[in-house]
Structure formats: structure tokens, C-alpha cells
């Protein structure tokens, strides 16, 4: 009888560990989302709008999921260094320069990127800070 209880308890703890491991990513995602939202509000919202709707042809909307997906590895660099080349978003060309945000630390870039790619109708999941850090080292 005692053996049974110990085995069951052991099994439970193993299951619990597995579940909490999976949850760590969800917790991180939530963390990034809430910090990213605050950063977005102070750094991005002026031009890109509260709901990522953009501003006329001055600032592109952030709702082009396809663009975000195909440029996944470039997003961090764009957030940190701005962009001067013209880009096509939702079929429209945008030529205005985006300013750089050198004051953003790697973790800030990661959080705001995760927020954008999981808001405004985008749902691209979690990207850890370590990955973003590597992307930022390889910016052109």
C-alpha cells in the first residue's frame, strides 16, 4: 500500500514538473507582453497608433502578418536601428524614415517585438531574449 502511494506521489510530481516547464514559456510570454505593451505605448504608439493602425502614409500599420513573418529575423534590427529603405505593407509602399531607438536594451527590443507580433491580429508566439540578442548582433 505504502509503495503505491509513493509511486503515485512520484508520478504526480513528475507530471507537475513537466506541466510547470511548459508553463514557463507561457509565463515568459505574459511577462514580455505586459512589458512590451508599456514600451510600445511610450516608444511606438505615437506613430503606429494604439491599435497598430499606423498613420496615413507616414507610418505603416503593424497588422501585416505576412510581412512580420517573412521579416521575422529583421524585426529586432528594425526596432533598434530604424529603417530608411521603402517597404511594402498591406500592398502599400511606405517611404518615410523610421527613427532608431538605441536606448532600447536587447531585452526591451525582445519584449516590444513579442508584443507587436502577438497583438493587432498577429499571433506568432514567443521569441526568447537570447535569440533576439543574437539577431541584434548580426544587424546589417
Amino acid at each position: 500500500m505504502r509503495k503505491y502511494i509513493i509511486t503515485i506521489a512520484f508520478l504526480f510530481s513528475v507530471i507537475f514538473v513537466i506541466i510547470s516547464c511548459q508553463n514557463q514559456e507561457t509565463i515568459d510570454l505574459q511577462n514580455y507582453m505586459s512589458n512590451g505593451k508599456e514600451l510600445y505605448r511610450t516608444k511606438c504608439q505615437n506613430c503606429h497608433g494604439e491599435n497598430g493602425e499606423g498613420l496615413g502614409q507616414l507610418a505603416p500599420p503593424l497588422t501585416d502578418t505576412l510581412f512580420l513573418k517573412t521579416n521575422k529575423t529583421r524585426l529586432a534590427c528594425i526596432i533598434r536601428n530604424g529603417i530608411e529603405e521603402s517597404i511594402v505593407i498591406n500592398g502599400k509602399t511606405y517611404k518615410e524614415k523610421m527613427p532608431a531607438f538605441p536606448e532600447l536594451a536587447d531585452i526591451d527590443v525582445a519584449q516590444v517585438m513579442v508584443y507587436i507580433t502577438n497583438s493587432f491580429g498577429n499571433n506568432q508566439g514567443f521569441v526568447p531574449y537570447s535569440k533576439v540578442s543574437i539577431q541584434l548582433q548580426n544587424c546589417k
Binding site: 504608439q45 505615437n46 497608433g49 498613420l55 496615413g56 502614409q57 524614415k97 527613427p99
Partner: protein, 216 residues
């Protein structure tokens, strides 16, 4: 019974008092004011209050056309100070002002005037591109370019909006984000923070109030 009648009477009385207090809403006057002795039509001397007004001005607009106060004379208009490369408050200001512009697009008595404070870069051609990209066409919303001196003096002395160059600021300039409401007699009748949605909503409510002042 008597009690009921008297309480009803009190109610009626207070309602009458309250409703008689109601007047036509008027907007306040901003800025300096002084008293002046004037003669009215009958030649009788009386004392009148003189309010601060916007002086004559002349700038180049987004079409490189010399534009003066004649464009806004006899109109209610909203003025603000911005620059095209501003990445802080200006986009929000103009996003909000755009909603006001759309509301009063068809009203010939309302105009919009945006002065650039970036005298180095914001030449009329740059302003034109900016206006088009913002989604503004035509001359109802003027984007004006002028010398540093003329624009900065107008901003600080007349529209009461602080502007300035600041090498430590991110984009090189600092300024307040007020949308200033001017009446048909060039007097300042309101100042609204263009970055705050509730204040911009108030502006939308105040423009018709100002317009009805002139309907008599």
C-alpha cells in the same frame, strides 16, 4: 396635505431657479486683456475690454504660395506647432487633429493651421509631402513655413505655445502639443492638449459653441 403641496412648491421653485440660471454657453478668452475707452455708435463713451489677438502674419504654405492672415480672417481656426521629422508627440497630435479635420471638413467657417518649427528642413515641398501622406488635400488645412524668428515669436508671444531648439532632445526641437482655438476676431478661445483624446473631444464640442456665438 399641506406638507405635500409645500414640498411640491419648493421643488417647482428650485427647478425654475435652476433653469433660469442656464445661459448660452460661451468660451473663455485667453491671454492678456486691458480696458479701453471707446465710443459706441451713438457717440457715448464707454469702457470695453480688449482681448489679446493674433497679429498679421505671412508665411509660405505647402504649395509654396505666400499665405497671410487673410486666409483665416473671419474664420474660426485651430493652430498648432509641429515639425515633420518629429517622432514624439506630433504624430499623435496630428492623428487626433485629423479626426477634428474630418468632422469639420465641409464647414467653410473652420480652418486648420500648422506651423513648422523646423526652419532648416521643413521647406514647403517637405510640408506638401507630409500633408499628402497624412491624408490632407486642399487648402482647408494650411501647413506653414517661415523663418525661425517669425514662427517662434508668433508661437510664444501670440499663441502662447512654448517652442524651441534643443540639441539634447531626440529630434532636435521641443514644443508643446497644444491645439489653439482662435475665433473670427483673432482672439484665443481655447487650448487643448493634442496628445490627449479627451481634450481633443472637447475641442470638437467647443468649435460649434464658438460658431454659434457668431450666429446672432
Amino acid at each position: 396635505m399641506n406638507k405635500i403641496i409645500s414640498s411640491i412648491a419648493i421643488c417647482m421653485l428650485s427647478i425654475a431657479l435652476l433653469s433660469s440660471c442656464k445661459q448660452d454657453k460661451k468660451l473663455p478668452f485667453y491671454g492678456e486683456r486691458h480696458a479701453e475707452t471707446v465710443r459706441d455708435a451713438a457717440g457715448v463713451e464707454k469702457i470695453d475690454t480688449v482681448y489679446q489677438t493674433i497679429p498679421n502674419w505671412s508665411f509660405l504654405n505647402q504649395d509654396s504660395i505666400v499665405t497671410t492672415n487673410k486666409a483665416t480672417d473671419g474664420k474660426v481656426y485651430v493652430a498648432d506647432f509641429f515639425f515633420t521629422s518629429c517622432s514624439t508627440i506630433c504624430p499623435t497630435m496630428h492623428r487626433n487633429l485629423m479626426t477634428v479635420y474630418n468632422d469639420f471638413k465641409t464647414n467653410p467657417d473652420v480652418m486648420f493651421v500648422s506651423h513648422t518649427i523646423d526652419f532648416k528642413y521643413d521647406k514647403p515641398s517637405v510640408l506638401k509631402k507630409y500633408a499628402q501622406k497624412l491624408g490632407v488635400d486642399g487648402d482647408k488645412w494650411q501647413f506653414l513655413y517661415g523663418s525661425k524668428d517669425s514662427v517662434y515669436t508668433l508661437a510664444e508671444k501670440n499663441y502662447l505655445v512654448a517652442v524651441g531648439e534643443d540639441s539634447t532632445a531626440k529630434d532636435g526641437y521641443i514644443h508643446q502639443g497644444y491645439l489653439v482655438l482662435i475665433d473670427k476676431d483673432r482672439r484665443i478661445r481655447g487650448a487643448y492638449d493634442g496628445t490627449k483624446e479627451d481634450q481633443v473631444e472637447q475641442l470638437k464640442k467647443d468649435i460649434p459653441v464658438l460658431l454659434t456665438e457668431y450666429k446672432k
